[in-house]
């Protein structure tokens, strides 16, 4: 199995780090750091209307990433790409920009990350949070305004056939606005927003080997044309006089203030990184590790994996597990021992998906291991060793 660890400088300082928390944030490859350092060191300046060479360069690099993102997710035009601060920001921007009120109905999912749940709950009336698999379960009516779905759950790791779900949703209600949380999908599988036929698609830079503080909101051109600006200030206006302001064209209309320039440029390098490795190789690498992990976990009788997407091709390397033996502590205790004694980095708790954990009756949370391209079988072995130690700590002490 190929090792990609040397591409990530963090392992120089932390050679025994077993990082299994990529679902929270992915580690950064040297080429992303170099690209950002280059901006901050050599042409740090604000974009747009700086009539001097380094500003022209910064504007060029920034806008080139917009086009790169468009190609990466198969958008028709770079004008459909808005830079935000992350997935949460993207979803909030849509939810507010659509001008929803409590009279509007939004269908959300039980497995949604809180960021694709709470904004809708606060602004509109939500219903049906069932996992939509068939036409009835979708819970969509003629009057439903928005369907908010997740392509890959950050807890279950299952890749949903959202193309079909969206198709079904449009058969029931042709006017429905479909908003997709793609945060966990984009780093792991190829995405094409035109094929999916979604209206909005949201993701973050930092989960795809890029920097924190930058994300993307893709919107179909006609949807963005109808959407209200929700943040006001410089850069998003055409004309301002005492009584009136007119807005700049899309996408600038939605990018008020100085954007995260260095982070957008870093995001561009992250896309280059993914393209360089190749999503096909990323998927194969992760699949081999997932199979290896499930094989190992099947020998640990007291560990159960949440959800039904077990050893299948329809999942990414996000595995949430819990102890079925009450004598063993909760996810917090397990993660503590893994981290403190084995340098195995996992996440404990609800992973921002409380309704899902409540549905499964696991109020004290799960331990989530999530994979990235830098992981190898040794990382999995250490995780398993750590789990055995957890058992010894609580039972055979």
């Amino acid at each position: 199995m190929k090792s990609y660890k040397k591409l990530f400088p963090i392992f120089k300082k932390n050679p025994i780090l077993h990082y299994l928390d990529s679902g929270a944030t992915a580690l950064k490859p040297q080429m992303v750091l170099d690209k950002m350092m280059d901006y901050y060191t050599n042409y740090s300046s604000n974009i747009h209307r700086g009539l001097y060479p380094i500003s022209e360069k910064a504007t060029g690099e920034y806008e080139a990433v917009r086009a790169k993102v468009a190609r990466f997710i198969g958008a028709k035009s770079e004008k459909e790409i808005i830079f935000t601060s992350g997935t949460t920001d993207s979803i909030n921007m849509v939810a507010r920009g659509l001008g929803l009120t409590k009279d509007d109905e939004v269908v959300v999912e039980v497995e949604a990350h809180h960021s694709n749940f709470v904004p809708w709950q606060q602004l509109a009336t939500i219903r049906n949070y069932a996992v939509p698999t068939g036409r009835q379960e979708l819970g969509i009516r003629n009057s439903t305004k928005v369907l908010a779905i997740t392509q890959v759950s950050n807890v279950l790791g299952e890749i949903k056939d959202i193309k079909n779900i969206i198709k079904t949703a449009r058969e029931i209600n042709p006017n429905i606005i479909v908003v997709v949380d793609g945060a966990q999908a984009v780093p792991h599988i190829p995405v094409n927003v035109v094929e999916l036929d979604c209206d909005f698609y949201c993701f973050s830079g930092h989960k795809m080997y890029g920097p924190t503080g930058v994300g993307v909101l893709y919107g179909k051109a006609n949807r963005l044309a109808e959407m209200n600006a929700v943040r006001f200030g410089g850069g998003m206006i055409k004309t301002v006089d005492f009584d009136n302001t007119t807005w700049a064209d899309v996408p600038e209309k939605f990018e008020a203030g100085t954007p995260p320039i260095g982070e957008v440029i870093g995001l561009g390098a992250a896309i280059d990184f993914i393209n360089k490795i190749g999503l096909k190789n990323i998927m194969e690498h992760e699949k081999e590790l997932v199979d290896y992990l499930f094989n190992k976990l099947s020998e640990i009788k007291w560990i159960e994996v949440l959800g039904s997407a077990k050893q299948t091709n329809n999942r990414i390397g996000v595995i949430s597990m819990f102890s079925n033996d009450k004598r063993v502590g909760t996810s917090n205790d397990i993660a503590d021992i893994l981290g403190r004694k084995f340098n195995v980095a996992v996440r404990a708790g609800h992973h921002c998906a409380m309704p899902l954990h409540t549905k499964f009756g696991i109020e004290t949370g799960t331990v989530r291991a999530s994979l990235g391209i830098y992981n190898d079988k040794n990382d999995i072995d250490e995780l398993v060793k750590g789990l055995q130690e957890v058992w010894m700590t609580f039972i055979k002490n």
């Binding site: 502590g329 917090n332 205790d333 708790g349 609800h350 004290t364 700590t393």
Partner: protein
């Protein structure tokens, strides 16, 4: 043996002394939702003194052991004195040093007692 999950802590977690409910007293609760801990403490107070206390809830070994040990300690104490207790006393009581993220777990019981 683990530095944190010592025998004493495991004992209180796996065989607590004060699990249960008390009727006719006062009660308070708190949730630590990011990790899934939830706790309710019931207490009988007479002349400003805690004469009996029990707890209900679910959570990690550290939070549940801490509250059981804490109730061992505070039964018989004046409530005003309990409310003056600090987090470092919890660590002393447990005989362990806690990382910042585990302090939140261990202090949950004291937090609830302070609401009584």
């Amino acid at each position: 043996m683990d530095d944190l999950y010592k025998e004493l802590i495991l004992e209180h977690y796996q065989s607590p002394n004060h699990r249960g409910k008390l009727m006719g007293g006062v009660e308070a609760g708190e949730v630590n939702m990011s990790c899934g801990d939830s706790l309710k403490i019931f207490a009988k107070i007479d002349g400003g003194k805690i004469i009996d206390a029990k707890f209900e809830g679910g959570g990690c070994a550290i939070s549940m052991a801490a509250v059981d040990m804490l109730l061992d300690k505070v039964i018989g104490m004046k409530l005003v004195d309990v409310k003056k207790m600090s987090g470092s006393e919890i660590e002393k009581m447990m005989g362990v040093e806690l990382t910042p993220s585990r302090k939140k777990c261990a202090y949950l019981g004291l937090e609830v007692l302070k609401k009584l």
